[in-house]
């Protein structure tokens, strides 16, 4: 199955004293202040915090969209250092499956082509691509709608396509940023059920949200405030 648990390091994410400083209008803003966090393989963790708390910065660093100014980050036993942008792109491509609030599907492409995209960047052959895309779309129950463009799909369906796109590379980590934020509560619940199913199948999931109800569905909650990480005993 696509979502078979990655058997590997016990620790999927290790952040140690990670800081990120932005320079806004000549003033230093500590978006992350010596944040430390460990997430184990197969865990379902939510990161909760109000806007401006630094959770987006944390997500960007965990998601290898950005690198820390100081501190240590090890993802799936690979230290993420001052890699070049292209090397980070390769790491994102192979290890991380992103799920965004705004779905972020390419509107010109069909559902199928959207799901296929990360595999193209992995240079997977076309026969295998077709097979894996079909598998992922079947899992989110949208195989019948594979030829539809995002605009022809409902919000919930679009998010399911996005989940299929995240899963199709069999990533080490699923990183979801407010995945239910643009959906009504009923559809949001459906999406959350998919996350639970993925967790049950052994996927490591990090869910970033400001919604306590959503956050509470995770196995473990991590709070972030003013750039500081505060673990909550589960």
């Amino acid at each position: 199955m696509v979502m078979a648990a990655m058997v590997g390091s016990e620790r999927m994410i290790q952040l140690h004293n990670v800081s990120k400083i932005y320079n806004v209008g000549g003033q230093e803003v500590r978006a992350l202040d010596r944040a430390s966090l460990t997430i184990n393989d197969g865990e379902f963790v939510s990161i909760v915090g109000p806007s401006g708390s630094g959770k987006s910065t944390l997500m960007n660093i965990i998601g290898c969209l950005d690198v820390a100014d100081s501190g240590e980050y090890i993802l799936d036993s690979q230290p993420i250092e001052q890699y070049s942008e292209s090397e980070l792109a390769h790491i994102r491509n192979r290890k991380i499956g992103f799920i965004f609030q705004g779905f972020n599907l390419l509107s010109r492409l069909t559902a199928e082509e959207n799901v296929e995209l990360p595999l193209i960047y992995q240079r997977v052959g076309s026969a295998e691509r077709r097979e894996r895309v079909a598998e992922a779309l079947k899992w989110v129950e949208l195989y019948e709608r594979r030829k539809h463009k995002p605009t022809e799909l409902s919000g919930g369906q679009q998010q399911r396509v996005a989940i299929a796109r995240a899963l199709v590379t069999r990533p080490s980590l699923l990183l979801a940023d407010e995945p239910t934020g643009n959906l009504d509560s009923k559809t949001g619940d459906e999406i959350m059920r998919l996350f639970h199913e993925l967790h049950r199948r052994g996927n490591t999931i990090v869910l970033i949200t400001h919604d306590i109800d959503v956050a509470n569905q995770a196995e473990r909650r991590v709070h972030i405030l003013d750039g500081r990480v505060q673990e909550e005993a589960s």
Binding site: N60, G63, L65, D66, E85, S86, A89, H90, R92, N93, R94, F98, F100, N104, L105, L106, R108, L109, L117, P118, I120, Y121, Q122, R123, R165, T169
Partner: protein, 393 residues
């Protein structure tokens, strides 16, 4: 990856058809201008060259501008013609006359010459005969008409035995030439009459001395010997004044024409290339707009693992596809235009597209796609993934 990039480019281009087409239009027009102009000049010059060659590649042409007060006589030319370097030589005196047959009249170009002229210029006679030596010796009032002169004045081609009036003097028509469809003939009067040189001198005072001589060398491969002999004879005859005459040989004319058409091709090709360049700037303009519009797309692609080179490749190939599609359309349209031009030329010139200029057009289009695509592609590739993802257009 290249195949995928081409597929992506096609999707992007077809998602905005009108804009893509308008962008291509610059390239299409540039390619058409390049191919059509260069092909027209090339084909025209080829056909002129062919016809000049068919006149005989051993033609020499002497023009005397100053006879030092002693008119050149016919028998002088006959003496010169005896030299073994020459196979034939003929004087040529040209005048304009009103040709009349009953009420029909036309302005005709009258050539006063000798029988050799027909051999030198390779004239074909359809009916009757060309001038004879006896016609010249006896100053007979006989004329050989061009086919156009016959049809214009008599309404038919076989008019041997009829009489035609040239400037009021009555001539017996002894021959009619074959129709001349050559490109060269379009540049001269098609109403022409050939009469004995001795008769022509009576019609115009200016022809009392020969000022134009046509000669063909006996060596078909080289005119150098003949030209040398002619030169020394003329120098002696004209008191060593080398400005009193000029000798032009066929290859000089060909060389001159070759360099003219080369310059013309280069000039027109250059203008066409400028329009291609403008087309390229259009591509760059649209690609820059497209990169900005698609910032979010770039962010998404980067988030799911596209590296800089993939993004760069995608946009570069898109620019290339636009310019190459434009080029292909331009080539096809050029072909149609050339066919139309050939039809319009009505058999006088057959226009063809030279493979070389198509090659140049394709190479130019590729170069333009790359040169004008690379900066927008670089801009796209350089976008930071987080900022690009945040972009709401």
């Amino acid at each position: 990856m290249i195949i995928q990039s081409i597929k992506m480019a096609m999707e992007a281009i077809s998602s905005n058809k009108i804009r893509s087409f308008l962008t291509m239009l610059g390239i299409i027009i540039g390619v058409i201008a390049l191919i059509v102009l260069v092909s027209l000049v090339g084909s025209a010059s080829d056909s002129i060259t062919d016809q000049v060659n068919s006149l005989g590649s051993n033609l020499l042409y002497v023009s005397i501008t100053d006879d030092k007060g002693i008119p050149m006589k016919l028998d002088e030319i006959e003496k010169i013609a005896l030299d073994k370097e020459f196979s034939a030589m003929a004087p040529m005196g040209q005048l304009t006359a009103i040709a009349q047959n009953g009420h029909a009249d036309e302005v005709a170009t009258v050539y006063g010459t000798t029988p050799s002229y027909s051999d030198i210029r390779g004239l074909d006679v359809d009916y009757g005969r060309f001038l004879r030596t006896t016609d010249v010796e006896n100053s007979s009032y006989v004329a050989v008409l061009s086919q156009d002169a016959a049809t214009e004045l008599f309404g038919k081609t076989n008019i041997v035995g009829e009489r035609v009036s040239l400037d009021g003097r009555s001539f017996l028509v002894v021959g009619v030439l074959a129709e001349d469809t050559s490109f060269m003939s379009m540049m001269s009067n098609r109403i022409a009459a050939y009469i004995p040189y001795t008769v022509a001198t009576r019609m115009s005072d200016s022809l009392s001395g020969v000022s134009t001589i046509y000669a063909s060398s006996s060596n078909p491969n080289s005119m150098d010997g003949a030209e040398e002999v002619l030169n020394s004879i003329m120098m002696k005859r004209l008191k060593g004044d080398e400005d009193a005459f000029s000798i032009i040989n066929q290859s000089t004319i060909m060389d001159a024409m070759g360099s003219i058409t080369d310059i013309l091709s280069l000039l027109l090709g250059g203008i066409a290339a400028i329009s291609l360049l403008v087309g390229g700037i259009g591509i760059m303009n649209i690609m820059l707009v497209s990169v900005t519009e698609r910032t979010k797309e770039i962010g998404i692609r980067k988030a799911i693992g596209a590296d800089r080179s993939s993004i760069m490749m995608q946009f570069l190939i898109e620019a290339l596809v636009i310019s190459l599609m434009g080029c292909a359309i331009g080539i096809v349209l050029s072909w149609f235009i050339i066919q139309l031009a050939t039809m319009a030329a009505d058999g006088v010139v057959t226009f063809t597209i030279s493979g070389g200029v198509v090659g140049v057009a394709v190479a130019f289009s590729v170069a333009i796609g790359v040169v004008f695509g690379i900066y927008p592609a670089y801009k796209a590739a350089k976008k930071h993934p987080i900022e690009a993802l945040r972009y709401e257009g």
